[in-house]
Symmetry: D2
Subunit: 342 residues, 4 copies
């Protein structure tokens, strides 16, 4: 049993983390901080947690996070980088669900996030928390940078191809579609029900922050710098990411086998049979990524379909998976929920 | 560990039952029958169950249901009444999620369901499976008639008032709204996405089959026959029932306390603080009924708000709760899922 | 051809008004004001209007509204009451789509709206713009108070019964469901897509501002003060209101005929055949109210179903209808759009 | 004023055609046929048409279609090809909204549609009804093959590039997303609300019938055979198609100008300013295609975004546009509806 703190529990990744931690048998949730909601009972704000989470939000200054074994940051970008060093110094391990430690090149990070990084020294220590790539390093990490939602779906879909070196890597295309919860729980006009419902649009086509994160991961897997066109879209559903990935074949392979073999031992990546079309709802509320491999009409373009729940494998679930690895729990502990369908 | 069979697992109550049973530590699912889908793997039909349910659908004739400790019927109305007697004779206990054994007056049943009842002799033995009313009888029942979705939300909302005798019972009003999954997984035009989405309508106002079921339960609680106007509506969401209930006060009471006291020991009924408005999503995918008690402007009309997930507390979850009671498991076993929000 | 100005065109009633005015053959839209968006092209903010509305938002101070024949206020409550007198003095007629002039008793208004009224003297002059009741007075009005959305659907559903005096008026019940656009285009957390989608809830049960407005209208029709329980709900669709109305019969009538006769000459009220269930989408984007009359099982409780598009007959469409009456245009001019289904 | 008949008016393209024809000042709708619904009033089936369409469905055998000036086929594939010759022989012009006459190579058609073509002789006479390409030929056509929804959005997005010859045409990618109404009004399980809502998936990745239609159109524009990967997706909205198109640049151009110039005189194609992201709702219920041109990070991959309402510019609206051209009406007659937003 470990003591766990959550910084910033009022957004969607926060409440999802609480949902999962409430069902985890080896964690004791000791404090949840929120500057704005200090004193409010968590279950009053999120009635779904009535009977499951008895805590109140506390002000960060009174949270005694130093006594935790692990602290999750479910905060906006730019918060974790200010507080992590002190926690590490106190012997607390940290998982940041925001983007502060995901990009290794601090200049690139500062360009895309529009801030000066407050702890550049920690960036190289931070382990990028994609267990399917970095499991061994995660185990011993003090600081894990939990991947973004689009980057998780996209990287898991492209990884076997990058590692095998069998497609052209200069012109990868990722056409990704996200449910609206990916935009967070912020009072913004463009994600109102009456704006986002019964509607579909692309956004950020000139450039989206997840582009450098994906490119970094794919380049590492390929062993050289890759080129990527990344187009995110907003689709009128709450949860789910569907990444449709395109790559041109440069060397023949049994691509289905390539994927099945690569993920044979992965508990949370499920390669579907040939000709499948994974639905986002098939992973709703679960920590699974489902992937299908297509080669339309036997041509030279591969189409990979990759789906996750953006709040689970794309955020809070992957964070719990990382926690399980870091503390030597069964990797699936507390993550065996069956997807909710319909 | 008990052996469990499911008859008819291809509808929404069926797949929901499988989701819950897959997470239940004391049940072994031995067979799932489907005439139309015999031979199909369950996980092929419902990819959400990949990795959780390894069975194939089998033809009823090959299911060896006689060897089960318990059989659930997740079939259309009129099936369970044909097969239950044989199972009981073989020592198998039965929970029917359809309506075959819910109405005590066989004439009333035959009128509303438009069929001749095939096992009228079993009707009196069947226990109506609303644990908040019939827990003791459920414990020893061979045959449980699992309540309908509207009847569960409506009865739990009205029960304390009926039992206390403090409202006029001749003119109760239940204005109920259901998600579309309540209509089942049938290929019918009126529940297509393009028909039911971005739309709201009442249906069955001249008369709905759940009316006699609700009236029977409320009359039993009141100790005399009650009058009820029941208007169901279809609302564009997948899961959830919201019942808005109206009754005129005939005797002053502390109505909030009345409800809190009545349900103080009920693990799956949650009475919210005064002035609350329960949302259906606050119980999504969980076996909870949340209730709020209002008396607008201090007038003489009470307004009770009662929400459930129609597939869980309104169907499969309540069936598992009944199973837990029947087999002396902890009543909450396998039913501790935290609601999925957002 | 009349000159028309719109004050506050950035909300949903505003953009809907622009949609309708752009198709109206007898209006010239001369200015649209917005403090926050002055200088922005209307079509940049609402791309649906590209090619239809060429204006930019202007600051109210530069709008020359005095030169208009008619000014619509599509503003939050409390704005029109500050500016109307000056416009009237300049000979401009005014239709207020907000609530400033709807309630005749200024004390009641100030209680429910939490403000001191800035022009109490105008309240008695203002004509409540429900054409089905006040057509003659609207024709000559300088100032029209356009009704609220819930009040329109509810009053049209109850009116024939109030006027005929055949139901108990002390305990009317209006259980109303609204699409989310009824909450306006405001950056508020509770109407985000991820909060309001796949969810259903009541709100404002202790008291909602439309209650006194409805009660005032029904009392006028009945000739005495009526009692009303009004429960609004939020349903996950963009447009539409469905009011389910309950009243106890005190005198036998042919209720179907009563409604058909009352609305026989009304171009925008459509009484459906017996046993109908009007859907909100059957009036989507059109200025029609559809009504069905039910008497379940021949009992003594009437159930009236009344649907409108909250942005059209519940706001902008009714405003245009009032304009047509005020300026002696054909009442249906510019309002003949066929509902958009599916 | 021309006499118009509609064969098969019970699907979504049918009811949409009726919505538009009801508002068209130069057409008299003389008969609507339906084998299954003969005798039913159209407005009973589609209450949105009450007050706008007074006809009943008639059996095809009694429809006197020979007396029409124009007959629309809003039927499943394979019907129009059986009846068109007789109508043409009687001097009636025909617009087929299905796919019977879209593909010039009858072998290709028979392969993808799985039927033997009943009128191969008519294929070469049929004019493909994309006015932006074939306006002159449409004017004199006896038989117009109205384009599919995906093909309209995709071709309009790629056309300027094909004609200019400035991109690699061997590996075009069209990642397209459709609202559920594109699947028609058929009682099929996979398009039920509870299946298609809050969900996103690709389908038909191995091959979709619209692929050869798009390839044919793009090849004609390019002057040589093109290669295309086409991946359609189902998105949880009623109406709308969003095509995201990818092509590699082979020759520098001012691509924004290229598109603006190409469509400068087109009444129903709207090229948005640079950096725009068209939303499907910005064309909801209107006959407009909106297009944005992107070149992310100045790289060598173009991203074109193209949106239409699948039932209007993608079906019924384009059919009316073709009718206007064929009968020398103003091309925009009856098609000036402002998009419905929100």
């Amino acid at each position: 049993m470990i003591k766990v703190g959550v910084v910033g529990g009022t957004g969607y990744t926060g409440v999802e983390l609480l949902r999962l931690l409430a069902q985890h048998p080896q964690t004791e949730l000791t404090s949840i901080t929120s500057r704005g909601e200090a004193g409010t009972s968590v279950a009053e704000m999120f009635p779904s947690l009535r009977g499951h989470v008895g805590l109140k939000f506390v002000d960060p200054s009174e949270a005694s996070l130093n006594k935790c074994d692990l602290v999750f940051f479910a905060t906006p970008n730019g918060i974790a980088m200010q507080q992590t060093q002190a926690l590490l110094d106190a012997g607390v391990r940290v998982i940041d669900l925001a983007a502060d430690f995901r990009i290794k090149d601090v200049k690139v990070w500062e360009h895309w996030y529009g801030m000066t990084h407050a702890s550049p020294a920690l960036i190289s220590e931070a382990v990028y928390g994609l267990p399917e790539v970095n499991r061994a390093m995660i185990r011993n990490a003090r600081l894990v940078a939990n991947p973004g939602c689009y980057p998780t779906a996209t990287q898991l879909g492209f990884l076997p191809l990058m590692e095998a070196g069998c497609v052209e890597t200069g012109h990868l295309i990722a056409d990704a579609k996200s449910g609206v919860s990916g935009a967070g729980r912020k009072a913004e006009t463009n994600i109102l029900f009456s704006e986002a419902s019964d509607n579909f649009k692309a956004y950020g086509v000139p450039g989206h922050r997840h582009l450098p994160e994906i490119r970094q991961g794919l380049s590492a897997a390929a062993g050289h710098s890759v080129g990527l066109t990344f187009v995110p879209h907003l689709t009128p559903m709450i949860r789910g990411i569907h990444a449709t990935l395109y790559a041109r074949i440069t060397r023949e392979e049994d691509f289905q086998s390539l994927f099945e073999t690569r993920y044979a031992d992965e508990p949370f990546v499920d390669v579907l049979p040939p000709k499948s079309h994974p639905e986002t709802r098939s992973v709703r509320a679960a920590n699974t990524c489902r992937i299908a491999v297509h080669r339309p009409q036997g041509g030279d373009t591969l189409v990979i379909l990759s789906v996750i729940d953006n709040l689970v494998k794309g955020a809070a679930g992957q964070a719990v998976q990382n926690m399980n690895i870091m503390f030597d729990f069964d990797e699936c502990l507390g993550l065996s929920q069956v997807p909710v369908l319909p």
